[in-house]
Symmetry: C2
Subunit: 134 residues, 2 copies
């Protein structure tokens, strides 16, 4: 099936853009962390909901490390199994700034679109040419 929609009627209910990559970079820019910490703390960022999707975290971290945007070292202190402590690199910070720029551009487009889309309600209630109601 090709849904990702909700009510079986084809209506929109849940496409998401989580921006996992810039979110992780930002958290690591604040301070070095390990994967599990990122997984639990990212939702607090208010931007990504990665709870129950640890795959997104660890795959992204490995991708970032392959490209030199973060580095990791094993941390055997503390309780529980060994953890990788990830640290952002200078290249990673540059990359995060690129993300910031492109997200700002993105915001401009989104704001413009929302302003247009706001007209729907107005017209819908004031001028019902179509003859159907919601």
């Amino acid at each position: 099936m090709q849904e990702g929609f909700g009510h079986g009627c084809g209506c929109h209910a849940g496409r998401k853009t989580r921006w996992v990559e810039p979110s992780i970079l930002y958290m690591l820019w604040e301070q070095p962390r390990h994967g599990y910490e990122l997984m639990t703390d990212l939702p607090e960022l208010g931007f990504v909901a990665t709870q129950g999707d640890p795959g997104a975290i660890y795959r992204t971290l490995r991708h970032l490390e392959e490209n030199g945007l973060v580095v990791s070292q094993w941390d055997t202190s503390g309780t529980g199994p060994a953890k990788r402590l990830y640290t952002i690199t200078p290249l990673g910070i540059e990359n995060l700034q690129l993300w910031a720029e492109s997200l700002r551009q993105y915001k401009l487009a989104l704001d413009a679109f929302l302003e247009k889309i706001d007209k729907i309600h107005q017209k819908q209630w004031s001028n019902d040419e179509t003859g159907y109601t919601l």
Copy 2:
């Protein structure tokens, strides 16, 4: 290869979220149009860049029609080959309003994230603990 990135260094340069579906629904809410018109006019919306990607338009239109959000009729008037004229349905308008809501939620998260991410520049220039410069 797994890039989609720019400089061969793994840095961000181009992930896009075009929101083709709500954009098409909005254009059809303004007035009935045919596919080619959508393809050429959508970039003016400032949100999607679908020039050179007609596939996105026609596949989305068929998907929308399958789910009853738009209907089409052949238009043989005018010059050139016959064209399908697409019209949004009441269900499509409801769907567009769902999109509007979720995009507004999305905007809130994006704004919050951008506010945080703005701190990068400040800290980078004022307090260079790391010892490297950009």
